[in-house]
């Protein structure tokens, strides 16, 4: 080993920086090398200076302020963590198999019911529109008047709302029956006011749910009779 290596070792003379073998080698070399001995003395002065620097420990001017700032941030972090834990627990609860199945069933049922009602409603509207667009009266066909025996229908056609919306003279009430001329029905169904009437009646007069509506329709269809009359008579024109 040459002097450069030993001089490198001189910089590593604090406890534990050199192995026992290296210390022994260096000691032996120093006994025989004056140049390295001089260098060791110079480095010794350097070490004393560094020791002085080490003894002066930097201290914060206001350590309490630092502590307060740390604890304040930690408390705010903690409250954030608590909120996250609550959210996690809530999500965990919803990820339980029985809750997931129940939630899926509820969503399917709700969506299914809504779709069923939606489709039924539009199917009925479509049927009415088809009826409205069908030919009213073929050439030479008799003009037909229908009599419907229904207290509920009587109540409806005599209501203020219906009187406002119906074509004047289209519907009459006679002898406990509602008398409607077919041509008037057709023109009534064609009229743009029909939809308003249907909506208004359903909402403000009937207050019917689906079951009650079905019952009402059964009642109507079961109590209709036609009254044939000759075109010459022009009974309801």
């Amino acid at each position: 080993m040459n002097c450069d290596n030993y001089k490198r070792m001189l910089y590593l003379s604090r406890d534990g920086e050199l192995s026992n073998r290296e210390v022994e080698e260096l000691t032996r070399h120093l006994q025989s090398c004056e140049s390295c001995r001089l260098e060791r003395e110079r480095i010794g002065g350097f070490e004393t200076t560094i020791r002085q620097l080490r003894l002066f420990t930097p201290v914060a001017e206001n350590p309490e302020l630092i502590t307060d700032a740390i604890l304040s941030s930690v408390r705010s972090e903690k409250s954030k963590t608590i909120n996250l834990h609550l959210l996690e627990r809530l999500l965990d609860m919803f990820s339980a198999p029985q809750v997931r199945i129940a939630a899926s069933a509820f969503i399917l049922l709700t969506t299914g019911t809504f779709l069923f009602q939606y489709i039924t409603f539009f199917a009925n509207i479509h049927a009415l529109e088809l009826a409205a667009n069908s030919p009213v009266r073929e050439a030479g066909e008799e003009n037909v008047t229908y009599a419907v025996k229904s207290e509920q229908l009587q109540e409806i056609v005599q209501s203020r709302e219906a009187r406002q919306l119906l074509i004047p003279g289209a519907v009459k009430v006679r002898g406990g029956e509602v008398i409607v001329n077919r041509s008037d029905i057709a023109s009534f169904l064609r009229s743009t006011r029909f939809r308003d009437l249907a909506t208004s009646v359903a909402a403000t007069i009937l207050h019917l749910d689906k079951k009650a509506m079905d019952h009402f329709m059964d009642n109507l269809t079961g109590n209709v009779r036609s009254i044939p009359n000759h075109p010459s008579q022009g009974a309801h024109r």
């Binding site: 490198r8 260098e39 002065g45 560094i50 420990t57 914060a60």
Partner: protein, 192 residues
Amino acid sequence: MTDEATRELISRSAAGDVLAFEQLVRRFQSYAFALAMRLLCNPEEAKDVVQESFIRLWKNLNRFDQKKTFTTWLYSIVTNLALDRLRAIKRNRRLFISRDEESKIDETLDGFDLHEIHSQRELASIIKTLTGELPLKQRLVFVLRDLQDLTVEEVADVTGMSPGSVKTNLHFARRRIRRYLVEYYRVGSLES
């Protein structure tokens, strides 16, 4: 090794006990500040790094390896954050300060008597003059070993270097600092 009382404080803090953490902060804050100050040579920067270090510590208490020393763990957090700052400072200096201005700044930092250090500012100035131009690795091992008085193994633990690499960097750092001492403070002499 971490003593029993500190270990107890760590596990209570990890369970969310802020009062236990407060004791931990009070016990170790001064060590963290001394290291941050010796690395950054700026009290405001050091204060910020200490705060950030303890907050990071709080968030990661569950990851503390009980076999390791708590101070080593704390020092590695402080060191990493301080190094990030030093790198950012160097980048900004390169971007915004010309070479001439930089040398003017450095001139104002020396001129103190090493044997009569009276204030934090003087000490910060001396350390900055001695270590400011060192590569970051050399600066780090010098501060940890010679100023913070950690063993070579502890320095290796904190920095993630091997003990051999710590010694190599230490040797180069001491050699250069010795030269600065002679040049700036007329302390000692170099090999003729």
